[in-house]
Symmetry: C2
Subunit: 307 residues, 2 copies
């Protein structure tokens, strides 16, 4: 049976990923949107989630892809209306918000899906299996991009309590927690804060896993030109590179990936499975790593950032 | 059967609470200690946990009450040696550390107990039941004390990544998460950092619960004279005061508690039960609230602090 979907927040990520993926999905049908500015041609659109819920369309599930600071209130409303909820990443502003939503979803008997799109990269599962079969000597994630290209004018990213460079960085953490065979935890962190901003523009993170393997991560919003979304590992079986945010696996310089990129198709397949099974998936491990970095990290002031 | 216990970190909290409680417990026998400086008369003492594990005493379980920055390594060793582990609060420096220990304890088949002593206050259970039976209008926790009295010379409290005033404040959060009927999450936070310190000396926290009830918390290390460890609530059934860190329940000015204070007896009873049941209790909700505060909190510089 087709799941009738409402989409909240018709911005860049909705147009780039959600709308084409939903259109191509055998499981979902887009029946309404809610957004202050955006809409989808041929689909009823509302100015708010409240108006969408009051509309005549029957809605089974709702995807939320507005910025995270308004996500909790929308998710609470959707859950209270008995809808299944798909949360873009990050699933909330705090761990407390997500725990509160998970509790409400369980009480209401609906599925809550905290999506981590990078975990659905074409090479993630092969990489996980490949690393599990060898001895890892060291791991390093490098997530660097030009914030002006990827987050043009997104002032909310820089407000107090926002993630700054951890907004893409949390993708790296969602990948590391998916592919590594053991848990890792933070030893040291330096977070670079522009003097005029309340969120970090770069981060240097030193972790170790429970077997003593060093795991590092470098995030930077100031990289001009092409972006870098890569995990490098030195192992007993050779040098591994997981490139393009989880979509290409290279071993000793040879490309091993055969599947095409289809992250959001994977996410919507998973959401449909969760709804069918009556389950939730609200894993907050990547967000917990971010909050740990804010707790432990030394803050270094750097030059102001302006769009 | 008596559980043979090793105690690591023979400092203030060990002498004040653990050692007399273990001596009075029917479940535990103190068979060794490990500490750089402290010891217990009549009990074999070692300079380190490694030396204690190499000693001739048979040890079933280990309590760790050193400062949190050395807790992970000690816990890892204890778990790898097949010992059940009791962690003083906070259970680690980060959420990542505690998740890593929980995974290792599960793999090793030993019990891990993240202790929150304030949850074993004499009035906690009565308070929880009383609040569950009424309508709560507002809640406020006030945890204020003189750091010079309660943490004399403890420089580790002020290092980068340490909890500062959240070291007592996490007791308040462990109480709130135990007595309130619903989850709450952070809306706003101000953390006051002395100009010469890397950890906060005071915090002002604004939460809301999932029913919209306001929950506030104020922590301060600069209170001279008597300390304040209190939760106040306005409710449909009257004004509640949970005083003395969870040990006295007052309703409309009338004392309702009848049980004597016995927090650490409660903790050791729980540890014995977990061991007997082959279970762990590594709840990190109070620590997650602390990391959320470091993520969202606005940092305000205040005058330097010196012991």
């Amino acid at each position: 049976m087709t799941i009738r979907l409402g989409l909240v927040g018709v911005g860049k990520i909705a147009h780039d990923q959600h709308i084409p993926t939903i259109a191509a999905s055998p499981d979902f049908e887009l029946v309404a949107t809610a957004s202050r500015h955006g809409s989808v041609e041929g689909t009823p659109s509302y100015p708010s989630i409240e108006a969408m819920l009051d509309g005549p369309e029957t809605i089974d599930a709702i995807t939320l892809c507005q910025p995270p600071h308004v996500r909790y209130d929308a998710a609470r409303l959707a859950i209270a209306s008995g809808k299944h909820v798909f949360l873009e990443k990050p699933p909330g502003m705090t761990l407390g918000e997500v725990a509160a939503l998970a509790e409400q979803a369980a009480d209401a008997g609906v599925s809550l899906f905290a999506s981590w799109h990078s975990r659905y990269g074409a090479a993630i599962e092969d990489t996980r299996a490949w690393l599990a079969a060898t001895t890892i000597h060291s791991v390093k994630a490098i997530w660097k991009e030009d914030v002006r290209v990827w987050h043009p004018g997104q002032e909310w990213l820089w407000e107090a309590g926002a993630l700054g460079v951890f907004d893409p960085g949390i993708n790296a953490l969602s990948v590391l927690t998916a592919i590594l065979p053991r848990r890792f935890f933070l030893l040291d962190a330096t977070l670079e804060f522009p003097e005029n901003r309340a969120a970090p523009i770069a981060a240097d993170l030193t972790y170790v896993d429970t077997a003593g393997v060093p795991v590092a991560a470098e995030f930077d919003f100031r990289q001009p030109g092409p972006h870098t979304w890569e995990v490098h590992a030195e192992t007993a079986a050779g040098t591994m590179l997981l490139a393009k945010g989880g979509n290409e696996l290279w071993i000793d310089g040879v490309l091993k990936t055969t599947a095409p990129e289809a992250e959001y198709r994977g996410l919507y397949d998973q959401f449909a499975k969760l709804i069918a099974a009556g389950k939730s998936d609200a894993d907050t491990t990547p967000l917990a790593h971010v909050t740990d970095a804010f707790l432990r990290g030394v803050r270094k002031p750097v030059e102001p950032f302006h769009y």
